[in-house]
């Protein structure tokens, strides 16, 4: 600061006649600038003897609302202490703007941001939200089941084109990422297994481990988690945006089932494509296992091939496919549920997408645990 363009401020107690008055002399250029003083500077000069504050702005050459913020701050301090403020020395424009700002009294609207709740309160709110959300979730589940029943009886209507678009988006376009992850997982399985099996000289059983592991469990799980992140989130974002645009309301207002039109094709696409991707994932995993076995652990290609064939029974495929179908349904359910529940803002759409992935993975975990235990008990 310096030169004629800089702001000037002087606080000077009045003398003789003006005893009890504090004069604020403003001068120079008061435009928005990080160096401008804070109104708190006044507090130091205010003592019990001062009954009145008077602003003198004769030296002011240039100003913007930064000046008004400063004056408003001074006004607040004066009001708190019951000191009169005389701002008649300000330029007329500044006084008019200050008057407009004071015209509507401060409103006591807290909005939804009534302070951040504490840790326990947050835990309580989250629990209550979950409990309140449960009937909604069940209601949505019921609607989806009804819609599936309508489909089976040939009364549900949606456009075949939507189903094909979803199938293309969910299936073929997910192949690269499913390939990469499945290959990695197959590789890891083979390495881990081979290390242990080597101790008992039974490396050939790598083939069994990788084949059964990938086809039965890991293929479906990996595919499920990838699709939850890739497609579940997309579903929530799509339906959420439709909610924001009132498109879902437009269906409802016409008495057309948004579930039939929007949820059903997505549900079917995932229930068809996730099992297929699961098969594919198992295949890629076995390729990775083969690669590791042949190059690192000196197992012949043909040996590995026959051992894999011996290990794989039909029931392994049945387990993998059933899990894929259930996971697909879970992902579509979570994605569509969160999308349909979405609020009417951009933030809500983001929240819906996040929530869809979390819900989908949670549902997959629960389903995976139950199915694994049940299949084991049934001896499948």
């Amino acid at each position: 600061m310096g030169g004629a363009a800089a702001w000037r401020l002087a606080l000077r107690p009045g003398e003789s006649d003006d005893c009890g008055t504090l004069f604020i002399d403003l001068g120079g250029r008061w435009r928005i600038d990080p160096g401008l003083p804070a109104p708190e500077i006044l507090k130091e000069k205010l003592d019990a003897s001062i009954r009145r504050v008077c602003i003198d702005a004769d030296g002011l050459t240039d100003w913007d609302t930064a000046l008004l913020g400063f004056v408003a701050g001074i006004g607040k301090i004066c009001a708190e202490r019951g000191i009169a403020l005389d701002d008649s020395g300000l330029p007329p424009g500044a006084r008019r703007l200050l008057a407009m700002a004071r015209a509507v009294p401060e409103q006591k609207l807290t909005g939804r941001h009534a302070g951040a709740p504490g840790l326990f309160a947050q835990a309580g709110i989250a629990t209550l939200e979950f409990i309140r959300g449960a009937p909604q979730m069940l209601g949505f589940l019921g609607e989806v089941v009804l819609s599936l029943l309508r489909l089976l009886s040939g009364r549900a209507r949606f456009r075949a084109r939507d189903l094909w678009l979803e199938i293309e988006e969910v299936g073929p376009r997910a192949l690269p990422i499913v390939s990469v992850i499945s290959f990695l997982v197959g590789l890891i399985l083979a390495y881990l297994g081979a290390d242990q099996l080597k101790l008992v000289g039974a490396q050939i059983f790598i083939a069994d481990l990788v084949a059964i592991g990938m086809v039965r469990e890991v293929g479906a799980l990996m595919t499920g988690i990838i699709i939850a992140g890739r497609t579940g989130a997309a579903f929530a974002a799509q339906l959420g945006t439709m909610q924001v645009n009132e498109e879902i309301d437009a269906y409802k207002a016409l008495g057309i089932s948004a579930i039939d039109f929007l949820v059903l094709p997505r549900m079917l696409a995932l229930m068809l494509m996730v099992p297929l991707l699961t098969l594919y994932s198992g295949f890629i995993g076995m390729l990775a296992g083969l690669l590791v076995s042949v190059t690192i652990f000196d197992i012949g290609v043909f040996e590995y091939y026959t051992e894999t064939l011996r290990a794989l029974e039909f029931k392994q495929f049945a387990v993998g496919l059933s899990k894929g179908t259930v996971y697909g349904a879970m992902i579509a359910f979570a994605g569509c549920l969160r999308g349909m529940q979405c609020g009417r803002s951009a933030e809500a759409v983001g929240h819906a997408a996040t929530s869809a992935v979390v819900t989908a993975i949670l549902l997959i975990t629960i389903a995976a645990s139950i199915m694994t235990v049940v299949y084991y008990q049934l001896g499948i």
């Binding site: 439709m242 498109e247 409802k252 207002a253 057309i256």
Partner: protein, 250 residues
């Protein structure tokens, strides 16, 4: 025009949780009316619209269409009543994955079972009526705000509804486009006898097209019955006159 009640609203109250949006609403919309629901921002206009068209259940009261109570009707009865309504949402609410033609065609195909060629004919005519001839294959994302509104109107009129409910027809439109839309609304009433409920705060529209109106007050959370907007302007409730003159009266 003889006055036959078309929509009767009886002691209607709407709320979000504990927050009462409007209570004790009581009014009648006659056949062939252009009925204006007006009021300041946040007074509950859109909420009232949602309660009228069956999107949000009111906490009390009833909405009667030609004497039939909507909210106390069975689900399939509600469905039948909904078919008599056409709705133009604020942002158009066109289905984003469908082209304009498909947007207009969907309600027709859903409800009438007309052959494809007949549906296409009707769609082309409806789009031409709102000045969008030749835009059949455009997607909503390719349209300007005004075009979306007009396309939304074409869809709302798809089934030739007895009642057209329009939320903020002119918001976000330039004055000329807004005026053309107003003219179209009046023309629909005059030629087809459609009853039209317009939710708006645009003074130009209120005063030029409305022949009956209510004012929703955002302070008392109740309605002020007003009648013809021009009468309301001359000798209505002071609050309504204040509103209709942009605060020009005390």
């Amino acid at each position: 025009m003889d006055t036959v009640p078309h929509i009767e609203v009886r002691d209607l109250s709407m709320a979000y949780g504990d927050f009462i949006v409007q209570s004790g609403l009581d009014f009648v919309v006659n056949k062939g009316d252009i009925f204006i629901v007006m009021g300041g921002n946040g007074c509950g206009k859109t909420t009232l619209m949602r309660a009228l068209v069956g999107l949000q259940k009111p906490v009390a009261g009833s909405v009667l269409y030609s004497g039939e109570d909507f909210w106390n009707a069975a689900a399939d009865e509600q469905q039948r009543l909904k078919r008599r309504l056409g709705i133009l949402f604020q942002g158009g609410a066109l289905w984003s994955s469908l082209t304009l033609a498909e947007n207009v065609a969907l309600p027709i195909a859903e409800y009438t079972g007309l052959p494809q060629a007949r549906v296409e004919e009707i769609v082309a005519f409806k789009l031409a009526l709102v000045g969008l001839a030749g835009c059949e294959d455009l997607y909503p994302a390719e349209l300007s705000g005004g075009m979306k509104k007009r396309a939304g109107l074409a869809r709302a009129m798809a089934l030739d509804p007895e009642i057209l409910v329009i939320d903020e027809p002119s918001s976000g439109l330039d004055p000329l486009t807004a005026r053309r839309l107003d003219e179209l609304i009046v023309e629909l009433r005059d030629s087809l006898g459609t009853t039209i409920v317009v939710v708006t705060h645009e003074l130009a529209s209120i005063l030029s097209i409305g022949n009956n109106s209510i004012y929703l007050d955002s302070e008392s959370r109740r309605m002020i019955a007003t009648g013809h907007p021009q009468d309301a302007l001359k000798n209505g409730h002071p609050k309504v006159r204040h509103f209709l003159t942009r605060g020009g009266t005390k």
